[in-house]
Symmetry: C2
Subunit: 342 residues, 2 copies
């Protein structure tokens, strides 16, 4: 059996907290060495767990809850006894190996950056979801933490995403593409023009497997393993994928519900339909890692149900065991625009 | 019958030119008053048409062809006898009412801007495709012509898109949304922060039906009629939609091809499947209008087949008849950031 890994879960964050969060987290407890630590209002956690938690599960009482209406930048400071502040402080102090929350992204990012801190030398932490593609999956970095980026940020994202794809997804030589509006190096805006040669130089030094610019369509069809973007365009891409997935998912469902005959077809094709549904279901993917923070922090979807929380906890365990943070620490000196001039 | 409208078609542009372009254009000739003018190598056009063209179709000989490898900014000048240069010059001179091409977007945009010119006071022409949404369709402006934008450009796009939705799509009070990474006015980057209050003021003056920021997912689910974006993020959105549509389209197809039973289901559900396919088929939508140019110019998809060309010609006729350019000319003085300070 693998060595144990302690996952601190924010029991109070998300639309379905604490019930679904507690149940989802507990469903993974004990599997493959995962140990669950639940942070939040103790009596609510115990009620959600059906009166008591299994042996080995730790419940850490935290009386406050960060709400969507709280200012994300300051919520964790004003609410020092919130599940997020308490849980991240435990992570910082080594009383757990990773933190999972389905609460406010902004508040979690601020709190993680200021409590747990970024890896030294990393300019910005990035949201790094894994998206389904026609041929497998890809890492999209950043997708919303940094609306405005510099070439240095994008360069760091390229390395961080590449480490994530290698360490967590197991891709040997991750193909890194710069998200752009055309494939030629001349395409795009000033930020892309500035970033392209830096990534190209990193490719020539053998530090990245840089394949050049990539258009959103080609990325979704499987053209690369790491999609490097500023947080604005990356978020537009992620939300477009979610939107079309939701829209077409409903269309397919409607198609099978139209008549008695089509309903019979739905029964006949049950297995295929389940596979299709899983492909477009965000819950299958799990959470979004905050990469660049010095310890693993995973944001689960706000609407996460039990299954999504369980998946995010497994993902947190995988990140904690992957060695990605050691990779980042060891390579941070290479991730600067000036490096190619050495 | 409606009054006649003359559509000049670039017979040499696109992956399937001249055959599919000529056939597609001729299939619309005479319908609802549409008259076709074909620009390109006469002998190739006649061969594609089966030896001769129907009565009333004009063929304008142009010996050169703009290729993908030509520099988009200068191709139309160096190739003065190209189908694009000849056709757009006719449009400028009033010898036709709209121009359709499936050739290089960049070359067409440069040529249209420099030969036909923008409406006076319009800073940048924008690519304005119509995208399918869960509840109907929406205009996305810009989606690639302008990778870098100012608040003034975005303000103009908001008006241009609103006129397009009203005049061409027939939406009474088009809901205009600013594409952003969150709904709150504080979300996004400096460009969005600067643009938001200008559009808000235009909304308060009753000139736009501004509904605030919109996320990509909500836009795809039908949250607005006009999606205002810089060309970079707009292109990422458009190509993401195309990518997921293509990916999930294949998945659905594969699902129905898996076994004898599922193939039988495909037969039983033939009608629904056709409707689904049409929803995700870019050919159903037709072309992308270049809005801001002083006469109608429509870019058809490079891979357009006959049906897509026919659709783009119909769309060009609709734009030519819509009165949108008169709308733009009459309102251009309102479209400036300073207007809200008057």
């Amino acid at each position: 059996m693998r060595s144990s890994v302690r996952i601190i879960v924010d029991a109070m964050g998300g639309d379905n907290a604490p019930e679904a969060v507690v149940k989802g987290a507990l469903s993974v407890h004990g599997q493959g060495g995962v140990e669950i630590i639940l942070a939040g209002r103790e009596e609510e956690i115990l009620a959600a767990a059906g009166g008591s938690v299994p042996a080995g599960v730790q419940v850490v009482d935290a009386r406050e809850v960060i709400e969507i209406c709280d200012d994300p930048a300051t919520a964790f400071k004003r609410k020092k006894d919130s599940s997020v502040t308490v849980g991240l402080t435990m992570l910082k102090n080594g009383e757990g190996d990773a933190f999972v929350s389905a609460g406010s992204t902004g508040a979690l990012l601020s709190a993680a950056t200021l409590i747990v801190k970024r890896v030294r030398g990393i300019r910005r932490a990035a949201l790094c979801p894994v998206i389904p593609t026609a041929t497998g999956r890809a890492v999209l970095i950043d997708c919303g933490a940094n609306a405005e980026c510099t070439a240095e940020y994008l360069t760091q994202f390229a390395y961080l995403g590449s480490f994530y794809a290698r360490r967590v997804l197991g891709v040997k030589r991750p193909r890194v593409g710069l998200l752009n509006i055309g494939a030629e190096p001349s395409k795009g805006d000033a930020l892309r023009h500035e970033t392209y040669p830096i990534l190209q130089a990193a490719g020539e030094r053998g530090e990245l497997n840089f394949i050049g610019n990539i258009e959103a369509k080609e990325a979704i069809l499987g053209g690369c393993d790491v999609i490097v973007s500023d947080g604005f365009a990356g978020n537009i891409m992620l939300k477009s994928i979610e939107g079309v997935g939701s829209f077409l998912g409903r269309e397919v469902k409607g198609m099978f519900l139209r008549s008695g005959l089509s309903k019979m077809c739905a029964l006949l094709m049950k297995g295929s339909l389940r596979t299709f549904k899983e492909k477009i279901d965000p819950d299958t993917i799990g959470g979004t890692a905050f990469i660049g923070i010095s310890k693993p922090v995973i944001k689960a979807h706000g609407s996460s149900g039990e299954r999504a929380i369980a998946q995010a906890v497994r993902q947190a365990a995988a990140v904690a065991r992957s060695g990605i943070i050691a990779d980042i620490e060891a390579n941070v000196s290479r991730m600067h625009p000036s490096a190619e001039q050495l």
